[in-house]
Symmetry: C2
Subunit: 180 residues, 2 copies
């Protein structure tokens, strides 16, 4: 149930509709906490039931009506409690590693092809991270210098991680060549 807290975290900055929240996910936490709109709408219903948010229907002409959510005092307390609780290490389900571990029945070319595809996808991902860094999507929301620093720290994590993967993959390709 971290989706719940990510949503509460955004609502703590300002009241938002489900649609707005989805956009904020895509513009920021997308890569380390993806969420679909169905998930978001369901979770909003749930936390509304728990009294962590209130809902206000905004009638619009030209665009569809929307439901704007606001965090309650109870929601803030709940969020704060979660934010100060240490979490367990993330579990990564890494298909490529499963493949590499079982790959002795493949040819070198086949394994290298898997690794090269991985490298290519990582480069795409890294570019997205660097674009985010440039555009500073997040700066629009960040209210303090410290908050900007925190978001930047989060971004750096992704860049570091994928650079480490890149290094690993190229070394693996090189190492494989001894089995020609």
């Amino acid at each position: 149930m971290s989706l719940k807290y990510a949503i509460l975290g955004f609502l703590e900055m300002s009241p938002l509709s489900g649609y707005d929240i989805k956009k904020m996910f895509d513009a920021s936490v997308q890569f380390y906490w993806p969420a679909t709109h169905s998930q978001i709408y369901r979770t909003l219903d749930q936390i509304l039931g728990e009294g962590l948010v209130t809902q206000e229907i905004v009638y619009q002409t030209g665009s569809p009506n929307k439901k704007v959510y606001q965090i309650t005092e109870e929601g803030k307390r709940d969020l704060r409690a979660w934010l100060t609780t240490s979490q367990e290490l993330p579990t990564i389900r890494h298909k490529l590693l499963v493949q590499v571990g079982l790959a002795d029945q493949l040819s070198n070319e086949e394994i290298i092809s898997l690794l090269r595809d991985y490298v290519a996808e990582i480069n795409v991902r890294l570019k997205k991270y660097r674009d985010q860094e440039q555009m500073s999507v997040v700066s629009n929301y960040a209210r303090t210098e410290r908050e900007r620093f925190l978001w930047h720290t989060v971004l750096l994590n992704g860049i570091n991680l994928y650079e480490a993967e890149l290094k690993w993959a190229t070394e693996a390709i090189q190492g494989l060549q001894q089995f020609e």
Copy 2:
């Protein structure tokens, strides 16, 4: 459905019971593809129905009877097809990063405490990886030099990854100190 292929991969090395498979998961892929026994038994039932494995009941005295599974030709074909298919980048759901992104409402001490706990858990994890490297659990199963290399490559991935995380976390702690 990668669990299915991880299981087929193990069965490709030798016939095994569900219990054996669970032990092999824990001794090798544990950190990048965890699985519980309920998941494994259900998946075995499923792939038995698909004709990818055959089942033989081994009656024992002293220990409970067991069901030993063997991969079929169809299973081997299916496995091979999956092994040569490029997978999408793994999605990591990283709670700590969600917390850090929303952490501006916390004090420096509170954030640093989160990061320190993270560092501590990573050190535990790294130790497990290094033990695996020493004990070479996998060497017992590896039939060729190349297979040993592949398993080692997989292990290295984890070590690289967590070392990158360690570096990131210590830098984050340092960076935070400018907001005293």
